[in-house]
Homo-oligomer: 113 residues x 2
Amino acid sequence: MGATKVENFTNKHNAIALMAKALGHPARVAIIDYLLKVNSCICGDIVNELPLAQPTVSQHLKELKNAGLIKGSIEGNSICYCIDEKAIARLQTYFDNISIKLENKKQLLLIIK
Amino acid sequence: MGATKVENFTNKHNAIALMAKALGHPARVAIIDYLLKVNSCICGDIVNELPLAQPTVSQHLKELKNAGLIKGSIEGNSICYCIDEKAIARLQTYFDNISIKLENKKQLLLIIK
DNA sequence: ATTCTTTATCGTAATATTGCAATATAATAA
DNA sequence: TTATTATATTGCAATATTACGATAAAGAAT
């Protein structure tokens, strides 16, 4: 017990959960925010920006990368990180669809009444 | 150590992380999906729908409620749960803004080149 | 009043996450 | 070659999460 029963849920639900989980920590939201501001940067820049030690930032970057939210490219002896638009687009579509469905339901209820 | 240093991050980042974290488990994504389909339901319906025991479902509902993603209203001896549109709208806006900013950056780069 | 139904809470075990010091790795600079 | 720089990994302690059986709480039905 204790571990999530991933195999009991759909791929879609697991995929959304994986991305959402990656954004489930303020440091990682802050990293995304920073990357959005500077377009791309190296790990050290984020270490200077956040109140966390280098290994901790490296770990958060690893999780964001693992969830597909960012991608890194080797640039000399450092690694250049940037947001992966595809993951953001997927999350955007997910929440857009929920909003649309909720709005449709609301309109239907108004018509019925 | 071990606990998230919530006090070191902005309210905005903490707020997004709180909602994202709530969706960071496939069971909770599945609950939102189900609520979207049936509009509103009671805990027992979700217990029948998911491969999880009643206390586990109750706990997941508590977390979704705590993050503001769902709301419950007492209905006789059961509790009627539904999606809280405000939280969804906030997340939708968050991802829309990221997408817009990424798109703007892309356009700018095209102009410069 | 007693039973049934529905949900929440408690207690607990298993596992995951967070954070960092120390260290490893790998490319660059001297 | 030997620093130096930039990241990643390891190891570990503190804490959080996940899951569920047992049980409590509270309204509904008999």
